[in-house]
């Protein structure tokens, strides 16, 4: 028996890849189900139903592959695979697909597939940037509350992701791309900016992959004085490894090794400013610059291809949809996610913190940001239920809310270090 499990587990990564590809196919099928209504000659309703069914089935099979990946990796590691950034992000993506499945079953709206699936796909692609090794658990992570806290929090956040997709759908459906008045123009600009941010993430993943595949490498070194626990000082050499060509070198370091980029760029264009001296700050800045550059190029190319704002290009996917239904889908997803998020990211986190560190709340940056997320959605719900903020305003909040979620998950680790820093970026 264990032999079989062993050999099944050996292909853990392959199942994930299959899942990923099936999600992509399912996304395309959903797009065909919506846009093909006109060209397929058959009755539009029947066409939508048939292709929608196929698309959804493919998504379900992909999800099964994803689940298989999750459990085989669990088996291989001996602990639940949610303990580093790679594992957490793949899990989050899995939960987003799960949330998509639930919301799709509730509303049976094809467009959800065309918008929620890509969110899961991008998160999954983003996960693959992080090191995939199975790592041993440090003592602080050896608690079953870890499993419960991380999984529940991710499930809640996944519904927020679907809420984000719903909000974006509402906006693209209702934004007037013909009107010349100021408010409409402002709205278009922000919607475009949201899509641009998404493209930056896509570009980030793509650049990292391309340079990794090309085997690109640059190394910087720096002497630092470290003070040990008992007070003695030591000189240590710190190395900084770049996988992207260094436009920015880390502050106050020596270049040890660098593959020339395009044969032209043989040394960094400039050094990081002195205030960016935190751990790996220079490298992170470099990555951000690359992502924005590549994202802008990607956006420009798509813009050239469509010859109109990307939001306008995507809006036919939503033609004929009732905006109020979209608004409700976004709200419903958030309403389902909110109690789950409260339980997972706050209450279970408090229980675990109490068990592990003896205080249920320590104002650690990650904890604070979980609270900020919670407060943000609390404001969203109060504005919606008691102040009548529905439609546009509510959709913008749903979009911004997910940005807050992503900052809590990724930004905090990237920018602020704290107790949760062992999740590592």
């Amino acid at each position: 028996m264990s032999d079989i499990l062993e050999s099944i587990s050996a292909y853990s990564g392959t199942y994930l890849l299959i899942g990923f590809l099936l999600y992509c196919i399912s996304f395309l099928l959903f797009v065909i189900a919506i846009t093909g209504k006109k060209w397929s000659g058959s009755e539009p309703e029947a066409h939508g139903r048939r292709w929608g069914k196929i698309a959804f089935t493919v998504a379900i099979i992909g999800f099964a592959g994803h689940l298989l990946f999750f459990f085989t990796r669990w088996y291989a590691a001996g602990h639940i695979p949610t303990s580093n950034m790679y594992e957490f992000m793949t899990f989050l993506a899995m939960m987003i697909i799960f949330a998509f499945i639930i919301v799709y079953l509730l509303y049976r709206v094809l467009a959800i597939g065309a918008f929620a699936l890509p969110v899961g796909i991008i998160i999954l692609a983003y996960a693959s940037v992080f090191p995939k090794d199975i790592q041993p658990l440090i003592p602080a992570l050896q608690s079953y509350w870890l499993k419960i806290h991380v999984t529940t929090a991710a499930a809640g956040e996944a519904f927020f992701a679907v809420g984000f997709a719903g909000g974006l759908m509402y906006l693209l459906r209702t934004i007037d791309y013909r009107s010349k008045d100021k408010a409409a123009r402002k709205e278009r600009r922000w919607a475009e900016f949201t899509l641009y941010v998404i493209l930056i993430i896509v570009a980030f993943v793509t650049t990292i992959f391309s340079f990794n595949a090309a085997g690109y490498k640059a190394v910087f070194e720096k002497q630092v004085t470290v003070t040990g626990k008992s007070g003695q000082e030591q000189q240590v050499t710190q190395q900084e490894l770049y996988v992207l060509p260094p436009i920015v070198a880390p502050y106050d370091t020596d270049m040890k090794e660098m593959t020339p980029f395009l044969g032209i760029m043989k040394e960094p264009l400039f050094g990081a400013p002195s205030w960016l001296k935190g751990a790996s700050a220079g490298r992170k800045l470099n990555t951000v610059i690359w992502s924005v550059l590549a994202g802008s190029i990607l956006y420009g190319l798509l813009r050239l291809l469509c010859r109109k704002p990307l939001g306008e290009a995507a809006s036919p996917l939503l033609a004929g949809m009732d905006p109020e239904d979209l608004d409700e889908i976004a709200y419903r997803a958030i309403a389902i996610g909110y109690p789950i998020f409260t339980l997972g990211a706050l209450i279970f986190a408090m229980i675990w913190a109490h068990e592990a560190w003896g205080r249920f709340w320590g104002w650690d940056p990650k904890e604070v940001w979980a609270l900020i997320t919670w407060l943000f959605y609390a404001a969203y719900l109060h504005l919606r239920l008691s102040r009548g903020w529905q439609g546009k305003k509510s959709s913008w909040l749903a979009v911004v809310g997910f940005l807050v979620v992503m900052f809590t998950l990724v930004g905090v680790n990237l920018v602020i270090a704290g107790l949760h820093s062992y999740a590592g970026v």
């Binding site: 509303y107 090191p131 090794d133 199975i134 790592q135 041993p136 440090i138 003592p139 602080a140 050896q142 608690s143 509350w145 626990k229 008992s230 205030w275 009732d322 905006p323 109020e324 239904d325 409700e328 709200y331 419903r332 309403a335 389902i336 909110y338 109690p339 409260t342 339980l343 706050l346 209450i347 408090m350 109490h354 068990e355 592990a356 560190w357 003896g358 205080r359 249920f360 320590g362 104002w363 650690d364 940056p365 604070v368 940001w369 609270l371 900020i372 407060l375 943000f376 609390a378 404001a379 109060h382 504005l383 239920l385 008691s386 102040r387 009548g388 529905q390 905090v412 602020i416 704290g418």
Partner: protein, 570 residues
Amino acid sequence: MFENTKCDCGHQNPVGTTLCESCGKPLLEHTGEAALEMRYDGMARRSQKANPNPIDRIWRFFSSVKIAVYLIVITLLGSMLGTIYPQESTFINLDPSIYYETEYGLSGKLYYMLGLSHTYESWWFITLLMMIGTSLVICSLDRVLPLYRALSKQQIRKHHHFILRQKVSYEGPLPESHADRPAAWVEEAKAALRRKGYRVHLDGDGTALLAEKHRFSRWGPYINHIGLIIFLLAVLMRSIPGWHMDQYLAFPEGIPVKVPETPYYLVNEKFTVDYYQEDELVGSNKGKIVPKIYETKAVLYTCKANCDDPNLDPEFQEVHRQDIIVNKPLIYKSFMAYQFDYEETPLLRAVHVTLKDKIAGTDLGGFDLSMTRPKSSYNAGTYILELKGYFPDFGLDDRGQPITNSKDPNAPAFIFVIKGPGLAEAGEPYMYFPREIDKERFRQDQINGAIAGKLELGVNSMEDVQISAYTSYLNIRMDKAMAYIWVGAAISMIGLIMGFYWQHRRIWLRVDAGTLALGAHTNKNWFGLRRECADVLAKSGLTVDPKSLEKADEKKTDRQSAKFKGGPES
């Protein structure tokens, strides 16, 4: 301003009521067919009282959801500020007035000067939390009481305006088959609604109906708020002296340490650490030393006698014994000890010293010498050793005077005066370094001079030496508010689930002269409600598209403006 609040049906409503408490007729005659504002069923609330006195004004301020949202947003932004740089509370033994400037420069200095280095303990942050608490109490009371009154005395036959101006509504003739038998039709609708889980009430003549389900979900938000209030109160209670304690202490193996502010002593009897094997590590961890598990065998004592006398051994009584690992703290009553960190600190704890006659090569006698609690005199055979000075961490200051660098026995040194046969009457001084390395470094034999030729203190074998190899750092905590914190969190969670996973749905039906009027309301998930209404109508032969039941979009704007006319604040 005088306002007539008497409804056509004869019911006298309190000022601020928007829908008649009895028949539901809209009292504020703004025209149009826009969907009604159904919040709290149009009941008047205390905060809408005319001619408010100062207390009413405070009440009105805190009962406003707008203010509550402002408070939430300000707290949210304030919390963000606190995450820019690490908070002071994350450091142990650190001078914040220097740290922030040296570490982050000018912005760090400003951060510290603005008090953001302790954002979450600052007066303004705590004030915000208290204001949120007040807002929770007042908002809830202001709404839950009218809502309770409205829902507990609902009239079945509602005014036509009320029914047809619901967001989901329908008006049309009864199907042919029932055209002249309205009561029979209503009876069938009742059965259909029952199957969908509604509780159905018919009015006297059987031509009007109220169907309702999951009313309890309306109490969800308020139960959630009660939980949050308990939670916030519990957090505040932690500042009562004796309710909350938090300190980090070092426990070298085998040495009892008094825990300040408690009656307890804690002994780390043995500390063990296991590391991951080479083959268990992969990737970036390869070749590193990663601890797998570390454990402190801890015993908790109370002191019975001789607690403060340095010359007498205190009498301890064991009260609790437990192994502590990360995630498994020692818990005894409200006393909690968490594994926090450890350090390899090979320290001498005690030695069994033997006094030797250096010339004859014989042992003269021995005694136990503790590095942490040395006594003032010892007997070794016929010799008496009086302790004149003890330096746990021996060193010399600028003028060459002996000092101790710390309280930890890193380099213990003892100055004895030895009295006995063959020595001067007043005794002769003898300096003793138990550690061989110190003995050579500080040249013990040269310091001692002549006596070093005659007598020597030393240990015979490693069995005579007790070492504490590790110091375990424990985080000692006491938190008497925890029970309330968990109760608050649990109540809050129950409220959230009630409120979010069920929806309160109501359907009103009345038949007048063969014409059916249906209105339906829910607090969320209109999609589901529409479908249920359409299903019920379909069962009795009226086919309608669920979507067509809902009021069209453009009318919503009217509803918004109606709201602002409706009251000072909702």
